[in-house]
Amino acid sequence: MITPISRHELAELASKLADPELKSWCDGSGILDSGEIVYADTEMLSRCFASAGSFSQESKPKSKRKKESKREDIQRQRGPKLDPIADVGQGSQDERITRS
Protein backbone atom coordinates (compact mmCIF):
# COMPACT_ATOMS: atom_id res chain seq x y z
CA MET A 1 0.00 0.00 0.00
CA ILE A 2 1.16 3.50 -0.87
CA THR A 3 0.22 6.76 0.84
CA PRO A 4 0.92 10.17 -0.70
CA ILE A 5 2.67 12.50 1.73
CA SER A 6 4.58 15.75 1.31
CA ARG A 7 8.32 15.99 1.86
CA HIS A 8 7.65 18.64 4.48
CA GLU A 9 5.41 16.28 6.48
CA LEU A 10 8.02 13.53 6.24
CA ALA A 11 10.74 15.85 7.49
CA GLU A 12 8.49 16.91 10.37
CA LEU A 13 7.82 13.27 11.17
CA ALA A 14 11.53 12.41 11.08
CA SER A 15 12.25 15.15 13.60
CA LYS A 16 9.81 13.53 16.06
CA LEU A 17 11.28 10.04 15.82
CA ALA A 18 13.72 8.55 18.29
CA ASP A 19 14.08 5.11 16.65
CA PRO A 20 17.16 5.39 14.37
CA GLU A 21 15.77 2.87 11.85
CA LEU A 22 12.51 4.75 11.40
CA LYS A 23 14.29 8.10 11.41
CA SER A 24 16.66 6.95 8.70
CA TRP A 25 13.75 5.67 6.61
CA CYS A 26 12.00 9.04 6.86
CA ASP A 27 15.20 10.97 6.15
CA GLY A 28 15.97 8.78 3.15
CA SER A 29 12.53 9.43 1.81
CA GLY A 30 12.81 13.15 1.97
CA ILE A 31 15.39 14.39 -0.44
CA LEU A 32 13.11 16.61 -2.48
CA ASP A 33 11.79 20.15 -2.35
CA SER A 34 9.56 20.57 0.69
CA GLY A 35 6.27 20.84 -1.20
CA GLU A 36 6.89 17.75 -3.31
CA ILE A 37 4.55 14.80 -2.81
CA VAL A 38 6.14 11.37 -2.46
CA TYR A 39 4.42 7.98 -2.31
CA ALA A 40 5.42 6.20 0.87
CA ASP A 41 4.85 2.66 2.09
CA THR A 42 1.70 2.86 4.22
CA GLU A 43 2.79 0.25 6.77
CA MET A 44 6.13 1.91 7.44
CA LEU A 45 4.48 5.31 7.58
CA SER A 46 1.97 3.97 10.13
CA ARG A 47 4.86 2.67 12.23
CA CYS A 48 6.57 6.05 12.08
CA PHE A 49 3.45 7.97 13.04
CA ALA A 50 2.68 5.49 15.81
CA SER A 51 6.23 5.85 17.09
CA ALA A 52 5.93 9.64 16.94
CA GLY A 53 2.74 9.26 18.94
CA SER A 54 0.42 11.00 16.55
CA PHE A 55 -0.61 8.51 13.94
CA SER A 56 -4.38 8.95 14.07
CA GLN A 57 -4.34 12.56 12.96
CA GLU A 58 -1.10 13.00 11.08
CA SER A 59 -1.20 9.93 8.88
CA LYS A 60 -3.82 11.56 6.73
CA PRO A 61 -2.77 14.06 4.09
CA LYS A 62 -3.27 17.69 5.14
CA SER A 63 -6.01 18.37 2.60
CA LYS A 64 -8.00 15.35 3.82
CA ARG A 65 -7.57 16.43 7.43
CA LYS A 66 -8.80 19.93 6.62
CA LYS A 67 -11.85 18.55 4.81
CA GLU A 68 -12.63 16.22 7.67
CA SER A 69 -12.34 18.90 10.32
CA LYS A 70 -14.53 21.21 8.20
CA ARG A 71 -17.09 18.42 7.89
CA GLU A 72 -16.98 17.88 11.65
CA ASP A 73 -17.58 21.61 12.26
CA ILE A 74 -20.62 21.62 9.97
CA GLN A 75 -21.89 18.47 11.67
CA ARG A 76 -21.49 20.08 15.08
CA GLN A 77 -23.47 23.13 13.94
CA ARG A 78 -26.27 21.02 12.47
CA GLY A 79 -26.59 18.75 15.46
CA PRO A 80 -26.64 14.94 15.59
CA LYS A 81 -27.14 13.18 12.28
CA LEU A 82 -30.07 10.78 11.99
CA ASP A 83 -29.25 7.52 10.28
CA PRO A 84 -32.31 6.33 8.34
CA ILE A 85 -30.79 2.89 7.66
CA ALA A 86 -30.08 2.31 11.33
CA ASP A 87 -33.67 3.32 12.17
CA VAL A 88 -35.07 0.83 9.66
CA GLY A 89 -32.83 -1.87 11.05
CA GLN A 90 -33.96 -1.11 14.56
CA GLY A 91 -37.63 -1.23 13.47
CA SER A 92 -37.34 -4.56 11.78
CA GLN A 93 -35.58 -5.98 14.81
CA ASP A 94 -38.39 -4.76 17.02
CA GLU A 95 -40.88 -6.37 14.67
CA ARG A 96 -39.04 -9.66 14.83
CA ILE A 97 -39.09 -9.54 18.62
CA THR A 98 -42.86 -8.82 18.66
CA ARG A 99 -43.59 -11.59 16.17
CA SER A 100 -41.63 -14.18 18.09
Binding site: I2, T3, L10, S29, L32, Y39, D41, E43
Partner: protein, 161 residues
Protein backbone atom coordinates in the same frame (compact mmCIF):
# COMPACT_ATOMS: atom_id res chain seq x y z
CA UNK B 1 -20.61 11.75 -24.66
CA UNK B 2 -20.59 7.99 -25.12
CA UNK B 3 -19.97 6.85 -21.57
CA UNK B 4 -19.73 3.20 -22.65
CA UNK B 5 -16.63 3.82 -24.79
CA UNK B 6 -13.08 3.74 -23.47
CA UNK B 7 -9.85 4.91 -25.08
CA UNK B 8 -7.45 2.27 -26.34
CA UNK B 9 -3.92 3.55 -26.80
CA UNK B 10 -2.07 5.78 -24.36
CA UNK B 11 0.83 8.11 -24.88
CA UNK B 12 4.24 8.12 -23.28
CA UNK B 13 3.36 11.39 -21.59
CA UNK B 14 0.62 9.60 -19.66
CA UNK B 15 3.06 7.15 -18.08
CA UNK B 16 4.75 7.69 -14.73
CA UNK B 17 8.38 7.03 -13.87
CA UNK B 18 9.45 6.73 -10.23
CA UNK B 19 12.53 5.97 -8.17
CA UNK B 20 12.45 4.58 -4.68
CA UNK B 21 14.16 6.85 -2.18
CA UNK B 22 13.71 4.59 0.85
CA UNK B 23 14.12 0.80 1.15
CA UNK B 24 13.10 -2.02 -1.19
CA UNK B 25 10.85 -3.59 1.47
CA UNK B 26 9.22 -0.30 2.49
CA UNK B 27 9.53 1.97 -0.51
CA UNK B 28 8.89 5.67 -0.93
CA UNK B 29 8.40 6.38 -4.60
CA UNK B 30 9.32 9.76 -5.99
CA UNK B 31 8.08 10.74 -9.41
CA UNK B 32 10.71 11.82 -11.92
CA UNK B 33 8.69 14.44 -13.73
CA UNK B 34 11.39 15.73 -16.07
CA UNK B 35 11.99 12.44 -17.87
CA UNK B 36 10.86 11.46 -21.34
CA UNK B 37 11.52 8.85 -24.02
CA UNK B 38 11.74 5.88 -21.64
CA UNK B 39 12.85 2.83 -23.59
CA UNK B 40 13.28 -0.68 -22.30
CA UNK B 41 14.46 -3.98 -23.73
CA UNK B 42 13.38 -7.16 -22.03
CA UNK B 43 13.69 -10.75 -23.12
CA UNK B 44 15.96 -13.74 -23.45
CA UNK B 45 19.22 -13.79 -25.30
CA UNK B 46 18.74 -16.22 -28.20
CA UNK B 47 21.71 -18.45 -28.83
CA UNK B 48 22.14 -20.39 -32.06
CA UNK B 49 23.02 -24.06 -31.90
CA UNK B 50 24.59 -25.97 -34.74
CA UNK B 51 25.43 -29.62 -35.02
CA UNK B 52 26.55 -31.96 -37.79
CA UNK B 53 23.17 -33.47 -38.52
CA UNK B 54 21.23 -30.20 -38.66
CA UNK B 55 20.22 -28.68 -41.98
CA UNK B 56 19.92 -25.22 -40.40
CA UNK B 57 20.98 -23.60 -37.17
CA UNK B 58 18.30 -23.23 -34.51
CA UNK B 59 17.90 -20.92 -31.55
CA UNK B 60 17.60 -21.72 -27.88
CA UNK B 61 16.59 -19.21 -25.21
CA UNK B 62 19.41 -18.00 -23.00
CA UNK B 63 19.48 -15.65 -20.04
CA UNK B 64 16.75 -13.06 -19.84
CA UNK B 65 17.98 -9.49 -19.90
CA UNK B 66 16.55 -6.13 -18.89
CA UNK B 67 18.03 -2.81 -19.89
CA UNK B 68 16.94 0.52 -21.30
CA UNK B 69 17.38 4.25 -21.24
CA UNK B 70 15.54 7.47 -20.57
CA UNK B 71 16.10 11.13 -21.23
CA UNK B 72 16.21 13.73 -18.48
CA UNK B 73 15.50 17.35 -19.34
CA UNK B 74 17.90 19.43 -17.24
CA UNK B 75 16.54 22.14 -15.02
CA UNK B 76 18.37 25.41 -14.53
CA UNK B 77 19.24 25.93 -10.89
CA UNK B 78 18.76 23.40 -8.12
CA UNK B 79 17.49 20.04 -9.27
CA UNK B 80 17.41 17.45 -6.48
CA UNK B 81 16.24 14.60 -8.71
CA UNK B 82 19.08 15.10 -11.19
CA UNK B 83 21.59 15.40 -8.34
CA UNK B 84 20.24 12.13 -6.95
CA UNK B 85 20.73 10.42 -10.32
CA UNK B 86 24.28 11.77 -10.65
CA UNK B 87 25.13 10.56 -7.13
CA UNK B 88 23.73 7.12 -7.92
CA UNK B 89 25.77 6.95 -11.13
CA UNK B 90 29.01 8.07 -9.48
CA UNK B 91 28.69 5.83 -6.44
CA UNK B 92 27.44 2.81 -8.40
CA UNK B 93 24.50 2.66 -6.03
CA UNK B 94 21.56 0.45 -6.97
CA UNK B 95 18.41 2.35 -7.85
CA UNK B 96 14.95 0.83 -7.53
CA UNK B 97 12.79 2.26 -10.30
CA UNK B 98 9.23 1.74 -11.46
CA UNK B 99 7.42 2.67 -14.66
CA UNK B 100 3.63 2.55 -14.74
CA UNK B 101 0.96 3.38 -17.32
CA UNK B 102 -0.85 5.50 -14.73
CA UNK B 103 -0.22 7.06 -11.36
CA UNK B 104 1.10 4.83 -8.59
CA UNK B 105 -1.93 5.56 -6.44
CA UNK B 106 -4.33 3.70 -8.74
CA UNK B 107 -4.76 -0.07 -8.71
CA UNK B 108 -5.48 0.10 -12.44
CA UNK B 109 -1.94 1.27 -13.18
CA UNK B 110 0.38 -1.48 -14.35
CA UNK B 111 4.04 -1.59 -15.29
CA UNK B 112 7.33 -2.84 -13.94
CA UNK B 113 9.74 -2.37 -11.08
CA UNK B 114 13.41 -3.27 -11.20
CA UNK B 115 16.69 -2.60 -9.37
CA UNK B 116 19.04 -0.94 -11.84
CA UNK B 117 22.48 0.57 -12.26
CA UNK B 118 22.95 3.76 -14.25
CA UNK B 119 25.45 3.84 -17.08
CA UNK B 120 27.26 6.60 -18.93
CA UNK B 121 25.23 9.83 -19.13
CA UNK B 122 25.30 11.57 -22.47
CA UNK B 123 24.32 15.24 -22.48
CA UNK B 124 23.28 17.24 -25.49
CA UNK B 125 23.16 21.06 -25.51
CA UNK B 126 22.15 22.22 -28.96
CA UNK B 127 20.78 25.56 -30.21
CA UNK B 128 17.09 26.00 -29.51
CA UNK B 129 16.65 22.62 -27.85
CA UNK B 130 16.44 22.09 -24.13
CA UNK B 131 19.50 20.48 -22.62
CA UNK B 132 18.81 16.78 -22.38
CA UNK B 133 20.76 13.97 -20.77
CA UNK B 134 20.35 10.43 -22.04
CA UNK B 135 20.72 7.94 -19.20
CA UNK B 136 21.19 4.25 -19.95
CA UNK B 137 20.48 1.59 -17.33
CA UNK B 138 20.67 -2.16 -16.83
CA UNK B 139 19.26 -4.49 -14.23
CA UNK B 140 21.55 -4.76 -11.23
CA UNK B 141 22.70 -8.02 -9.72
CA UNK B 142 21.36 -7.59 -6.20
CA UNK B 143 19.89 -9.22 -3.13
CA UNK B 144 17.78 -8.08 -0.22
CA UNK B 145 19.26 -8.12 3.27
CA UNK B 146 17.30 -11.35 3.78
CA UNK B 147 19.30 -12.92 0.93
CA UNK B 148 16.56 -13.00 -1.69
CA UNK B 149 17.52 -12.20 -5.26
CA UNK B 150 15.74 -9.15 -6.66
CA UNK B 151 14.87 -9.08 -10.34
CA UNK B 152 12.63 -7.32 -12.81
CA UNK B 153 9.02 -7.73 -11.69
CA UNK B 154 5.65 -6.61 -12.93
CA UNK B 155 4.23 -3.94 -10.70
CA UNK B 156 0.82 -2.37 -10.07
CA UNK B 157 -0.22 0.77 -8.28
CA UNK B 158 -2.29 0.75 -5.10
CA UNK B 159 -5.12 3.03 -4.15
CA UNK B 160 -4.40 4.56 -0.74
CA UNK B 161 -6.76 3.62 2.10
Amino acid sequence: MASDLARGAYSGKETFFYYNSATYASPTFVEMKRVRNIQTNRGPNLGDVEFHGAAETGAIPGYKKFSGSFEYVRRKGADTVYDFLVDARDSGEILDIAHLNGTIILTASVGWRCPILLGEFSESANGNDGVVVTIPFSKADCYTTAGDEVNYASFTGTTPP
